[in-house]
């Protein structure tokens, strides 16, 4: 089920220079949401018409709230960054299929603003959890302590080495020999592609959460396609409706 709600902002905080942490009250969406799904936020300013897909970082069905952690990347997200407690924002969701949570040991791998959807995923996974997070530098690290609080082993990689391992998440995983039964991942496409190779070489199942420019968020506009293997060939699948989570072995990078 999906719906549109006129949500009110419960809280708003600044995590880094350009990353914001907003909780909004939208009871129906909160009651249906699953880890790895996303919502569509509408700028509603008359100029920027299309909704922005934002991954769900957490939800509280009892309170009817969802938590979104997003980075300002353009006019729409800039507008959202100026929201304050009590403000209204139109939201559609929950969209997409989310992660397929499996028993066994989990490895959660996130890069930059791909980290937030992994937090709710981590909260819901019951087995052994290893979390590998990659950021540009120390100042852009987000949500690290919250993963630790969930009892996960947390590894951090930064491009410049200002915190944790110097390099990217896949290099870190190689150096630490990180393995598990299932990888849950979200981040830049280049990271996910390298991770997909890492998983395949070691025979680890891997789910990747992808993104693409979209207009509707519900499968009607057919804008947000990715190439997915289909028999001997390939087909265009929709990130919003067929995804955003795909089996890494199906994706044609």
């Amino acid at each position: 089920m999906k719906t549109v709600e006129n949500a009110s902002v419960v809280s708003m905080a600044n995590l880094t220079d350009d990353v914001y942490d907003i909780t909004i009250h939208c009871p129906e969406i909160a009651s249906w949401a699953k880890a790895g799904q996303f919502v569509e936020l509408y700028p509603d300013n008359g100029a920027n018409l299309l909704a922005r897909p934002i991954s769900i970082c957490g939800m509280d069905a009892e309170k009817g709230d969802i938590r979104l952690v997003f980075r300002v990347v353009g006019k729409g997200t800039e507008l959202f960054s100026r929201l304050g407690t009590g403000d209204k924002i139109r939201v559609l969701g929950p969209c997409g299929n989310g992660f397929n949570l499996k028993d066994g040991s989990a490895v959660l791998v996130g890069g930059g603003i791909g980290v937030p959807p992994l937090l709710e995923t981590c909260r819901q996974l019951k087995g052994d959890k290893t979390v590998v997070l990659g950021f540009r530098d120390k100042s852009s690290v987000i949500l690290c302590d919250e993963f630790k609080a969930l009892g996960a082993r947390v590894y951090i990689a930064t491009d410049d080495g200002s915190l944790g391992f110097k390099g990217n998440v896949v290099e870190l995983m190689k150096s630490e020999g990180i393995t598990g039964d299932m990888i849950y991942s979200c981040g830049p496409k280049i990271m996910l592609e390298a991770l997909s190779d890492y998983a395949e070489e070691r025979g680890i199942a891997c789910q990747v959460s992808l993104e693409e420019r979209m207009a509707c968020g519900i499968g009607a506009c057919v804008g947000c396609v990715v190439k997915i293997k289909d028999g001997d060939g390939w087909t265009h699948k929709k990130v919003c409706k067929d995804g955003p989570v795909f089996d890494s072995r199906e994706v044609i990078w």
């Binding site: 100029a47 299309l50 979209m214 207009a215």
Partner: protein, 300 residues
């Protein structure tokens, strides 16, 4: 109060339809609205074989609108007939099939396969700007328009709507060519060709560089073209282009359109179609309009 309109002998319960390519075959929107309320569902373009469309990125936002270069990705007419017609027939609404092709033969193949199918009308898409063969290449040349329309009309067993491109100097010329070719009705406008460049990456946003612009920003252009075409031909005209609400829809009706389609507005507000229908009814009550047809073409 009467909201029914008649297009080529087909009665729609109200003039509000969906613009092809913005509504799939209605499944996605059935979570948000009651499809029974719609005058008609105009489905996403159907070709004789499955099409994969263009590579992503296919979508770019522009001021007051958007660009798309989807390229008519669709699962083909056989899949459509097996899956989408039965789905839509569960609802009390009319089914209009948008037909696309790369060549006259491909258009004809689709229409042949649709002979006898349980649909109400056909809409010939000779105006998509996002395919290199067929599409807009046909729809911008009056000689080609007449040729493809007459070839398709010979095979069609349902009323044939021809969807016109706005990317021409004088749209009344292609409108007249479609009329001469045997079109039963016209629909306009398809998207306006447009472009957006990402100045930080120094690249076009769309993988195909150029796409079709739609959304509220194109409405005045669309309205002007509908007005011109209504005065130039004797065919019923279905108006579209940036219609987002009842006020917009009523403008097109007053300019001469018998029906209106909601397109990009569906992406911005999934209930835009029924909100428009409600708004039209409210206007009719408030201003004592007994019959929606009284408003059609009242602008001289």
């Amino acid at each position: 109060m009467k909201t029914e309109v008649n297009i080529c002998g087909v009665t729609l319960k109200n003039p509000v339809m969906t613009a092809s390519g913005t509504f799939g075959s209605g499944r996605e929107y059935s979570e948000f609205i009651d499809l029974n309320r719609l005058g008609a569902v105009v489905v996403k373009g159907v070709a004789d074989k499955p099409w994969q469309g263009n590579p992503a990125p296919r979508i770019a936002e522009v001021y007051g609108g958007m660009l798309n270069s989807v390229g008519l990705q669709n699962p083909g007419v056989d899949w459509f007939m097996e899956n989408d017609i039965p789905f839509l027939r569960q609802f009390d609404t009319k089914i209009i099939v948008n037909v696309c092709g790369h060549s006259v033969d491909e258009y004809v193949n689709v229409v042949r396969k649709l002979r006898g199918a349980d649909v109400d009308m056909l809409e010939l898409n000779i105006s998509c700007p996002n395919v290199s063969e067929g599409g807009m290449a046909f729809g911008t040349d009056p000689v080609m328009v007449k040729k493809v329309v007459s070839a398709v009309k010979r095979e069609a067993d349902k009323p044939l709507i021809v969807k016109l491109s706005p990317n021409v100097t004088d749209i009344t010329l292609t409108a007249k060519a479609a009329e001469e070719g045997g079109a039963d009705a016209l629909s306009l406008i398809n998207t306006l060709t447009g472009m957006k460049i990402d100045i930080y990456r120094r690249q076009p946003v769309l993988s195909r560089k150029i796409g079709g612009m739609s959304g509220p920003a194109v409405k005045p252009v669309a309205l002007r073209m509908v007005y011109e075409v209504c005065r130039a031909v004797d065919l019923p005209v279905i108006g579209m282009g940036g219609i987002s609400n009842a006020e917009d829809a009523l403008e097109f009706i007053m300019a001469g359109a018998v029906g209106v389609s909601i397109g990009t507005a569906n992406f911005i507000n999934p209930t835009a179609t029924v909100d428009t229908i409600d708004g039209i009814e409210e206007y009719m009550r408030k201003y004592n309009v007994e019959d929606i047809n009284e408003l059609r073409g009242i602008i001289e």
